[in-house]
Subunit: 359 residues, 2 copies
Amino acid sequence: MHKLDVALGERSYPIHIGRGLLDGGLIREHVRGNQVMVISNETIAPLYLERVTAGLGDLQCDTLILPDGESHKTLATLETIFDALMANRHSRTTTLVALGGGVVGDMVGFAAACYQRGVDFIQVPTTLLAQVDSSVGGKTAVNHPRGKNMIGAFHQPRAVVIDTAVLDTLPDREFAAGMAEVIKYGLIRDPVFFDWLIEHQPALAARQQAPLAEAILRSCRNKAEVVAADETEQGNRALLNLGHTFGHAMETFTGYRDWLHGEAVAAGMVMAAHMSGELGWVDAADRRRVIDSLAAWRLPVTAPPGMTRADFSDLMALDKKVQNGRLRLVLLNQIGDALVTGEYDPNALTRTLEAFCER
Amino acid sequence: MHKLDVALGERSYPIHIGRGLLDGGLIREHVRGNQVMVISNETIAPLYLERVTAGLGDLQCDTLILPDGESHKTLATLETIFDALMANRHSRTTTLVALGGGVVGDMVGFAAACYQRGVDFIQVPTTLLAQVDSSVGGKTAVNHPRGKNMIGAFHQPRAVVIDTAVLDTLPDREFAAGMAEVIKYGLIRDPVFFDWLIEHQPALAARQQAPLAEAILRSCRNKAEVVAADETEQGNRALLNLGHTFGHAMETFTGYRDWLHGEAVAAGMVMAAHMSGELGWVDAADRRRVIDSLAAWRLPVTAPPGMTRADFSDLMALDKKVQNGRLRLVLLNQIGDALVTGEYDPNALTRTLEAFCER
């Protein structure tokens, strides 16, 4: 088993990575009070819920099963969590356990941030994407009809428990979507890891345990370092959003239904690399390597059908990285070296949108 | 004009107290970005909204008017705030201005805590209760049908701007409700202030400016000191909830309609003093003085008609101060010296509920 720490002073917490961690007492060890609510979704609960609750039998242990999918990541679903907590009389010393992918983790984390002005929660991510990205770092949120993750909070978990065995049942498409975020770490700050990922693509696609655990560990370490240096995104934490401004626009355009988050991020990273090329920062060969690294996973590398430049402009204007009217973007100086900036030639953005949109 | 600081490190902020502060540039000075949304309710907006927006003309200044009343302090109303912010494309550098009483302040503060994971907000309280209590200290929330302030966040404002002239139009009943929270500071930690308040009751009831400003200043100073020592209520901040556990139960029982918050707190403080007497901590004369200090303002000093011991027990079991199954209460050692404790003879609580309930 690997253990990493996210160093945030009194809000520090461990990330445990290993095979079979759902069983055994690891989750129980991080519960401080005598109440717990395990919250999952209708896809994950039949697979793993009983194994998790089995280890919590000495506590008041309630469960809640939410509908599956990004389209349910709303204030309305949040309200069902609050209703269940109140109906079961959970107090400020309760602990919520988020058992599921990024949607479950983001919502349960936000519920934990708000319930009685803040209670403990533990992330037990069951998708590759949640394991390498969304479960670490304390960003929680729900979507607004006009924009993704627009309503939320920074609220750090007490622990992240990553059981790599749950990936055995993860569909290929979701596995690939997670790899988009893994590749992201290489692109923004770890060029050696980027090369390693290309080299080990076949082994990872075969889900070989050793390289898979290594990829998760290295992703979490990158994420933990970035978060520890900038918890509330005053600066370089924004680098983690490479591809996300384009990606969120595509997700919003497709109604959070057609594309998985990681798929939108993949296409968004290709667009960011393209624009970095238009600005003269990334050469054609590296632009090609970015596309190839993602296409190897059959991830989308262009915008969704029917999405226009006007759609992009409208949706990106609502991005959280807009500051006083200027859209800041995460771009690449080169592979392994990203920057966040509002200082760019807007014509480069126009040319990228032209290249990726039908009209 | 008086100025106090709430000392919270990088989250420190000033409280300005004076006559006529709605006009002039004081609010504008605390806006950091180029967007602002002034949020008020249908009672307050016709009186003061234009005066506030007049000073913000160089910014994108939008307004939103909410329905009036505690029964609207819900997630549904919060959603209308998010809708307005998104529709007007407010970014993470926006500032929300809460112009109204405690309900507006609590909701706008919570909206500011969650919108894009946290934006600036400024408290401009227009009731005595909001000026001396809820606008200071960063507690924000909405109600759940089963309990008051159950969903919320700690989010400090950038500034609190208290214009004492707005109290000229405040109805007597609301003014008295605010005095309940003023008297609370005397009861929990400032016995000299408690005596001063009894002495100056007639002058305060006549709304004489000098004693009124003094009462507000002294209340805010007490609140600021308590908050600075314990921002997120790990300990002594809970003393500010004297009367509130009983009071919240009464508010929930009456559906947040019949009683103002300060009225419920008044009756709740009488019950807390009674129970402290049953425990042998407060003598009969002081118990009497607590009642008299509140009754002078025609505040309720008993439970609402029809509320039973069972109603109290059910509703208090959901209080945020329940920890691992034990209800902690704020009680009095004596006037000017409160404590929060779960260590008490439960028979004293039973006798108090018997004394205040019909059956």
